[in-house]
């Protein structure tokens, strides 16, 4: 893990979640009034199978410090198998990012069911802590900055 612990650093976190399990689970966190960090904002997808790895690249390119991906537990997928496909995709993708030297701890994967409101809060809080520890994604942000410079040029 790269540790760039900056004081009072609040990571920007985007969560990609499936509609049927984790989105509903996060709703339950709300109805149960369990508190979690404000850093995380959710984007709803029909299924984890829908989440294109390019969207993760997009998120990093737009300055995300961390990403949470969450969907139905294995065998619970609303669409039977979307999460199984997603799992294979992440196994390959995560290792590839590691291979090019990106810190894969900036992406948290979890299964959160519609009944696991408490788990969602836990995942969010633990992830945000983890991302705080990692500090800003400076190495990636350097690339963003350079690219902006070049594009203006």
């Amino acid at each position: 893990m790269e540790t760039n612990n900056t004081n009072n650093f609040e990571p920007k976190v985007v969560a990609f979640v499936c509609n049927w399990c984790t989105y509903a689970g996060a709703d339950l966190t709300g109805t149960s009034r369990i508190k979690y960090a404000t850093n995380v904002k959710i984007i709803r997808f029909p299924c984890t199978g829908r989440i294109d790895f390019m969207l993760l690249m997009k998120a990093f390119a737009n300055g995300a410090d961390g990403i949470i991906i969450s969907g139905c537990h294995p065998n619970d997928c609303h669409y039977t198998s979307g999460n199984f496909h997603a799992r294979r995709r992440w196994m390959i993708f995560r290792n590839l990012l590691d291979f090019i030297g990106m810190d894969v701890n900036r992406i948290v994967f979890s299964w959160v069911s519609a009944a696991e409101g408490a788990k969602w809060a836990e995942v969010v809080n633990e992830s945000v802590d983890q991302f705080r520890q990692l500090g800003p994604a400076t190495s990636y942000q350097k690339l963003i900055k350079n690219s902006e410079f070049q594009e203006v040029e």
């Binding site: 920007k12 985007v14 989105y23 509903a24 996060a26 709703d27 339950l28 966190t29 709300g30 109805t31 009034r33 369990i34 508190k35 979690y36 404000t38 904002k41 959710i42 984007i43 709803r44 997808f45 029909p46 299924c47 199978g49 829908r50 989440i51 294109d52 790895f53 969207l55 997009k58 998120a59 737009n62 300055g63 995300a64 609303h78 669409y79 039977t80 198998s81 979307g82 496909h85 997603a86 995709r89 809060a121």
Partner: protein, 667 residues
């Protein structure tokens, strides 16, 4: 140019207690494309909805973002409101600032900022929303019911009575299934055939039902509303139109020693046969494996004795094709066979039999005319040991589930035995007694208290033969695990119910999912128990998991009601949030490369191939095509497609990218 209306709800104080709603509305009003942005105490109330409707009309809005509770709560409400004001309902989105924001954070600027981010994200999304219309699929109002046991019979009659056509397909020469083999039924001890055979006759006579026995499903294609089912009619070696069912051929057939499947091998049948006297249709088939003519090339006794000259030795399998709107799987179950129980000697000792064989022994129409006589020497057994959970609930051997029906039928068997052999002693080894149906527990109590059935709580480790007796060694766990040995005359195994043979092949032909035990899987274990994951294909009875008769009949009627419900409309309406293969102008036509790697990705088999042809009909290219009747909109193919040729309505590439960008920028 987009004209978006943003409506921020306070939800009483549910949102406004922690989020500064006025600020959110004010900031949102400055987002590019936002024409109107207001906040209100209760957006979902009538005045709130009216605000939305009036704004749509007044500002000619092209999109609406209602920033309130979860879309799982009020999305339909606001989409309806939009539709009432003339805005396509799919141009309305909800920004969830209650469950995902106000309720999970303390009051702070950060919470308000997060709400603003959420609203901005949805505004960017809704700008890219498209007006969508529901999909309509025409429906052929014929149901194909596969399996003619009690489930198939009940469902066929229910659907037919509702006025729809039914094609009932049964693999065996007669309908009736396992229920026709049973002697009496629990918990009432009424005769199984007495209640079943009238229904079988009803099926044969019903004007809306076409019955194909000795037939199997060859192939199925198409989708909900419009299946094309090809049925193989196995050759019966008989012209059914001429046959009167007089039975002369059966009486004269020289091959008489074939173990009868219907009698579980305890009785014999001829090579030309009807499985049992009350069979429907009551016309024989020739079993070509055992018929002398087919083995040696001569005999033809049946042909000679047939008064109507109905025998056709050269008849071949034929095929019929049926157009159907729905399919019902009712293929039932089977019981475990010998090699599963080396320790119980099943298959090795003649007097170790399974429950179905005991049903035949106890049946008045069975091989012993209802007398309980053991198969080896025809003696009346003085002691019978019944072993419950023979195979069931045994994860080590791979069947971890409870077969559910055995506790009850074993109690029934012991009772029937006691009623017929008063001096006999029935023992039942059991793990737990699961008697959870109506009048079931009372029934088991009767077996214990009135008929003095000896229940021993424990497992049997082995059964072996010694001096003409079957030694049953087990343990009594209620006596501190004392070993028990019983010298029995007969042992009856309550063998586990397993999926019917051929279930896997059938599931693959129909593209329905099945579990690791090869039972068909329901679409949802609680809320969709008679549907499969494939739209238009339904389930009933023990093909889904072992079920007793009342449950099976209930499921069959449930599935029939679902099918009748489907058939009550001429067109099927579906949510349009589905995937589509994008097309474009010639010469490319579509960026789809036709690699078809998306086909195995789809959980619903909704993807097939489409040929793009020029005006003279030459194929220019073959690309993927998504059947809108089958696609459920998971989007797995969308993320998988490398050329980004597939997109999904409602969550398209443009929308989700815009969301990511909007969420992260302007922090």
């Amino acid at each position: 140019m987009a004209r978006i209306g943003v409506f921020i709800c306070h939800c009483g104080e549910n949102i406004s207690a922690t989020v500064d709603c006025e600020k959110v509305a004010k900031v949102a009003s400055e987002f590019p494309g936002v024409t109107v942005s207001v906040d209100y105490k209760y957006m979902c109330s009538d005045p709130g909805q009216n605000m939305v409707k009036e704004a749509i009309l007044e500002h000619n809005l092209t999109g609406v973002v209602v920033s309130a509770c979860s879309p799982r709560m009020h999305e339909p409400t606001f989409r309806n409101a939009c539709a009432e004001a003339g805005l396509n309902p799919f141009l309305c989105e909800m920004a969830n600032i209650r469950e995902h924001c106000s309720w999970v954070h303390e009051k702070s600027d950060a919470t308000t900022d997060k709400a603003i981010d959420i609203v901005r994200t949805l505004v960017e999304k809704v700008k890219r929303n498209e007006a969508l219309a529901p999909i309509y699929v025409p429906i052929t109002k014929t149901a194909v019911v596969i399996g003619g046991g009690v489930a198939g019979i009940q469902a066929s009659l229910d659907i037919a009575d509702a006025g729809h056509k039914v094609v009932l397909v049964e693999r065996e020469p007669s309908i009736g299934g396992h229920m026709s083999q049973l002697s009496e039924t629990f918990p009432t001890l009424d005769c199984s055939q007495c209640i079943l055979t009238p229904r079988m006759v009803d099926v044969a006579r019903h004007p809306n039902i076409t019955l194909y026995t000795y037939a199997e499903i060859e192939s199925v294609d198409g989708s909900i509303g419009n299946f094309n089912v090809k049925i193989r009619l196995k050759s019966k070696s008989l012209d059914e139109k001429l046959c009167t069912g007089c039975g002369a051929c059966i009486q004269k057939c020289p091959v008489k020693k074939i173990p009868s499947e219907f009698e579980q091998g305890l009785g014999k049948r001829t090579a030309i046969y009807v499985p049992f006297p009350q069979a429907v249709p009551n016309k024989p088939v020739i079993d070509r494996v055992n018929c002398t003519y087919y083995i040696k090339g001569k005999c033809k006794v049946c042909e000679i004795v047939c008064p109507t000259k109905a025998i056709r030795f050269d008849q071949e399998d034929s095929f019929v094709e049926v157009q159907a709107g729905a399919l019902l799987l009712a293929t039932g179950f089977d019981v475990l066979k010998t090699n599963f129980f080396p320790e119980y000697g099943y298959g090795k000792y003649e007097d170790v039999i399974d429950g179905l064989a005991f049903e035949r022994l106890a049946s008045a129409s069975g091989p012993t005319k209802g007398e309980i006589r053991r198969p080896s020497d025809g003696e009346i057994p003085k002691k019978i040991v019944f072993i419950a959970c023979a195979g069931s609930r045994d994860p080590a051997k791979g069947i971890e589930y409870c077969s559910k029906i055995c506790c009850m039928y074993t109690a029934k068997h012991a009772m029937l035995y006691k009623h017929k052999v008063h001096e006999g002693t029935p023992y039942i080894f059991y793990m737990d007694i699961r008697a959870t149906g109506k009048m079931y527990e009372e029934f088991v109590r009767r077996a214990i208290e009135e008929d003095e059935v000896k229940y021993i709580r424990g497992r049997v480790s082995q059964v072996y033969e010694k001096n003409g007796k079957l030694i049953v060694r087990g343990v009594d766990t209620l006596l501190m695990g004392q070993p028990v040995e019983i010298e029995a005359d007969m042992v009856v195994l309550a063998t586990a119910g397993i999926a019917s043979p051929g279930s896997e092949e059938l599931a693959q032909k129909l593209h329905v999912s099945y579990d690791k035990h090869k039972f068909f899987s329901e679409a949802h274990p609680k809320l969709k128990p008679v549907e499969t994951n494939t739209a238009g294909i339904y389930l009933a009875g023990a093909c889904q998991s072992t079920k007793d008769i009342p449950e099976t009949v209930a499921a069959a009627s449930g599935a029939a009601a679902k099918i009748a419900g489907l058939f009550s409309n001429d067109l099927l309406k579906r949510d349009p949030l589905i995937a589509v293969v994008k097309k474009c102008a010639p010469p490319l036509y579509s960026s789809c490369t036709g690699c078809f790697m998306c086909i195995p990705v789809c959980p619903y088999q909704a993807i097939d191939k489409e040929e793009i042809k020029d005006r003279s009909g030459n194929i220019i290219k073959t690309i993927s095509h998504i059947n809108p009747g089958l696609c459920q909109g998971c989007g797995t193919c969308v993320a998988f497609c490398k050329s980004k040729s597939i997109d999904i309505l409602g969550y398209n590439h443009d929308q989700v990218c815009a969301e990511v960008e909007a969420l992260l920028n302007e922090w």
